[in-house]
Symmetry: C2
Amino acid sequence: MYGRWLFQNLSTDKMAKNDTVHFGILGCANIARKVARAISLSPNATVYAIASRSIQKAEKFATENSLPASVRIYGSYDEVVEDSGVDAVYIPLPTSLHVQWAVTAASKMKHVLVEKPAALDVAELDQILEACEFNGVQFMDGSMWLHHPRTAHMEHLLSLSNSTSIGPVHFIHSTSTMPTTKEFLENNIRVKPELDALGALGDLAWYCIGASLWAKGYKLPTNVTALPDVTRNASGVILSITASLQWDKPNQTVANIHCSFLSHTSMDLAICGSNGSMHLRDFIIPYNETSAKFDLTFGAKFVDLHIGWNVRPEEVHVANNLPQEALMVQEFARLVASIRDCGSHPSIKWPEISRKTQVVVDAVKKSLELGCKPVAL
Amino acid sequence: MYGRWLFQNLSTDKMAKNDTVHFGILGCANIARKVARAISLSPNATVYAIASRSIQKAEKFATENSLPASVRIYGSYDEVVEDSGVDAVYIPLPTSLHVQWAVTAASKMKHVLVEKPAALDVAELDQILEACEFNGVQFMDGSMWLHHPRTAHMEHLLSLSNSTSIGPVHFIHSTSTMPTTKEFLENNIRVKPELDALGALGDLAWYCIGASLWAKGYKLPTNVTALPDVTRNASGVILSITASLQWDKPNQTVANIHCSFLSHTSMDLAICGSNGSMHLRDFIIPYNETSAKFDLTFGAKFVDLHIGWNVRPEEVHVANNLPQEALMVQEFARLVASIRDCGSHPSIKWPEISRKTQVVVDAVKKSLELGCKPVAL
């Protein structure tokens, strides 16, 4: 498997370590291939069990993804959550199934790493979060990009309040677009009303809303407005959506997001403050696995006569020792091991991030229902 | 003066040529310094007269900008438009004065190059355009970036309809932001209600609206929606504005614009189609004078497991033999000479571009007045 060689020195001998967290994977979705590899690469995690509704499918997944022979193969999700050897579940199931399986897993004292969007709405997510809190298990959604050191580096720059700061953030622009086929637009799980009723608003806007909140230090916007260009498939599921988030004074900001299954691949993020800006075009999935960059522009102005600029964007490169998805697994497993082995409380950071993101997803949906009127939060 | 040496070989001996167009400049605004230089650099144009309401100011301008001694210095705009040696006027006056002086100049058979925004509203612009049409003189607004060969190169890519096309344009993002001082925000001409009542909607959004229309082949949007984050100064003039332009099916597109006197300098333009995208961050004023680039991404998808991208943005560099403002002057002067010397009709391209831009400016203003409701065009 690509990447095993690249990162193999980082993931050896972990089976022998005490802090290793045993993952059970509920379902064999495409994204589960990436996360199974991430679990394998993470120094404190291991794939312990894999389940599909058909055991043959689970077996095929294990073979195709070179999972060790020791991995338990199940033909039902129940068997995973009942297995006392499983510390945590990773749930890549369609969004409509998240609440059922996350709550069930939490009730069996399994920590929950769930694919994004976390749930269909805040009410469902709250059921999940309450079950996790009640059972003292960790919750995290699968927003991998938040775990890249590039993100941490940018966050540090955003946190500065001295003369090297880009200043209060005034404007945020983000996109999450990917071209799909006609077949996808009508029949893919991600746009099926009974499986992922949020469509692009869940699958894609989760990132852009998350990035906007992140850039604002997770302060919720004052108002959320969907724009009238929404596109839906024959079943009414959103295929493309544009929306604007607004934070009122004293730290006024506007964040525009555009998400679409109809456009060329883009993952743009631009954050503009009073003194500087940061731009990147691969914020969700970096161009490559071992390093990523962003462009930093600071103190830009025009030269005399306005015939050019005094500065150019500076490329800031940030190396990572593991792919961002393995860093996500590593962070999640670290929290799980700390709860399991040291009696720590679950971190509230990750559930709070997910919930705020879901609150804004709900607000965009409500604005659409109201004919694109602003929704106050 | 910087740039004279760089481009001097292109502008020699033009005084001797028959096709040289004689410009009269109405006013000594800062931008007039840049355009006076551009006229000097343009091989078919020359500064013939400069006027200010005070002759001392005009004299100072001529000295500071190294205008030749032969340039006529006037203490009133009337003297310029009355001067039979003047072929064309360049009007860098505050927007509220455009209609008066553009109409007066046209009535004296002077061709009109007017700074953007062209007018305060379509009604005023129509007075100007009707005067130009009636008198058979050329009209053009001062959108310099439209004359850069980079723009032409991108336009060519947008016009393709084969397999190398970026496909129908689905999404356009543009910004025009610049940081200003507290003093500017209350007292600068560009935010004075009696001088430039449109504020950022005129001075900055003219570019973003123009770029959005340009990317859509100057098809007017179906709807224009202002977003509720508008900021105004104590006089009610717009300091920052976000808006969304929407084109309905069959070629559905959404264009978001953000313009502000409150943020760090940005001039972002992103155009995303179904098969590719173009990005640049200096679309209004290129980083430097002799060449400019844009990033082209084509056929991007994720590699197996979605752990990276199959392609990176390609940097497309485009050289220019003159600064874009001199190319603007050159094009305007070419049209003027053709009318003057060959009896050609004025080109309708440039007035149409200005008018469509002004129509959308008006629509954003109207949407604001309606509480950010969509305005149909």
